[in-house]
Amino acid sequence: MLDMRHLGAERIIDRLPGSRELSMTFAGVDPIYDPVPVRPGAHYHMGGVETGNDGETELTGLYAAGEVACVSVHGANRLGGNSLMETITFGRRAGRAAAEWALANTTVDLPESAKADAERELKALLDVSSGERPWQIRNDLGTSMLENFGVFRREEQMTRQVEIIAEVRERYERGVVVEDKGDVFNSDLTQAIELGNMIDLAACMLQAGVARKESRGAHARPYDYPDRDDENFMKHSISRWAGDGPELSWKEVRYTKFDPMERKY
């Protein structure tokens, strides 16, 4: 329960109108009068596609911005408003740079084989006629990740989750049924594709999480590594997909004006 009553009606209405609206709509509780039931939830994805200051990525011509990107301004902490930096500042920069790049490079040589591969994959996905629907796998992925890779992380839970992901992947690769075969706003298809990406992403997060033997920001291991370890882990975890699994590497942290320090509140 989160109790905000001591703030009083006026301050709640003035300063927390959005939170009040959420509590009233989803929990049926007015925070002016009663405490609000709360639980952990995924609010913002702090990592993402590694980009430079203009949204550029490792792949020439591919730009990323917003929650999908990671310019690494804020480190491992979800601070109030850090998504604004990603969208407003770097979104603008990325948009501008991507547009400039697109204007300067009008043609991209895409090998015929790449196009054929993509088409074949799509067709294979649409052709599956019996098997599981993606939502069952998606729900299992979500529940197990929350359970084993949630707020407080334990070594053994993380390693168990690596196995669970392998099983989930097997189910997915056996083929999932996409019911919508059409080509107009087919979110059944996009959701099925996204599920495959989510499984890959979960594998990357787990590998990096197990390897990071410290607690930093949102990565909390209070049972075995409760402290921050700058000597060994003041570095970014970088995952690349290598054929059939993620490959972890590290990158130096670049800091300019502000020296990193522990968050003490």
Partner: protein, 367 residues
Amino acid sequence: MTMQVGLKVWRFNSRTGERELQEFEIAAPEEATLLDCLDIVKDQHDGTLAYRKSCRMMICGSCGMRMDGAAVLACKMRMYDIAQAGHVPVISAMGNLPIVKDLVVDMDPFWEKFNSVNPYLQPGYEEPPDGKENLITQERMNVIHKEALCINCGCCVSECNAMEADPLFTGPQALAKAMRFVGDPRDGQKLARLEKLNGEHGIWECTRCYFCTERCPKGVDPRDAIAKLGAESMKEGIDRDMGAKHAKWFVTSARTTGWLRETELVPKTQGVVAAIKQTRFALDLALKGKVPPPFPPHVAKDVKESRRLYDLVRDQGRDGYAGIVQGERALGRLSHGHGVGDQTLEEIYDRPGAYHRPFIADEEADA
């Protein structure tokens, strides 16, 4: 706990033009919203159903649609009471926008209008005294508090009557957004903005039906924003539009005689030629006793009251949007079943069944 929810969904495919009302009966958790129910339908009953969603918490603006003919945010719509009443609502795509598939509309016309009001802060404001930070008081930002809450869901546009008549009408969302910048003390293009908004398809096309205000899930109150734009335009002397003249005549009429003189309204707002064309209509009205005869103008007994009001507004400098802004607390006013009330904290904690008052660190123990 689960509940049974019935839904009738208008399916549509823009490629084939097929249209069908399809009924679903699903089991959903009691706290389910309309969006949760659609997710269950899509996952477990019919994967071909198309609708937009993203945040599931009323902030991204993706899930606007119609329920029983009125625009709602699917993720804000709790279904418990509806299901409990045994009602099976009809779900369909938003209005005033072309349907792509099922509940998905083409938002391009929406974004075009959004962009047409130049929704970015335009430089031209004074440089901050310290060269660093431009501090604006809360008071000055309150003017556009409601307008800044818009999540671009399109529910208002879906319901707009003026847009039904003129699809090119700038529309409630874009006009509310325009007010967000016109009222922003940092914006340097206020006059240019107002000029444009007074043009074709601009603010005066609004029919004042208030459907936008009624339907907005965030309390943005677009009709109020349009009224503020109108008032501010006239304050700045932009009053060439018939709508502005109409409004001005209301004021003059009320100030001089204390009541509305309909007979003079038409010549004053539309000009004499148009007035002659309307004579027949006026005579009809007069015959039916709807309009008093034009002469002599009748002066209301309490005309002083209305003059005093006029002077008050002028003296306080509250013409323009300042006269309409009332320290807006949009979300605070949205109804959720509880009134805000004017209870003190003590009264709140003393309610039967209320939780204990929490301990506050810097408070006296016996306070």
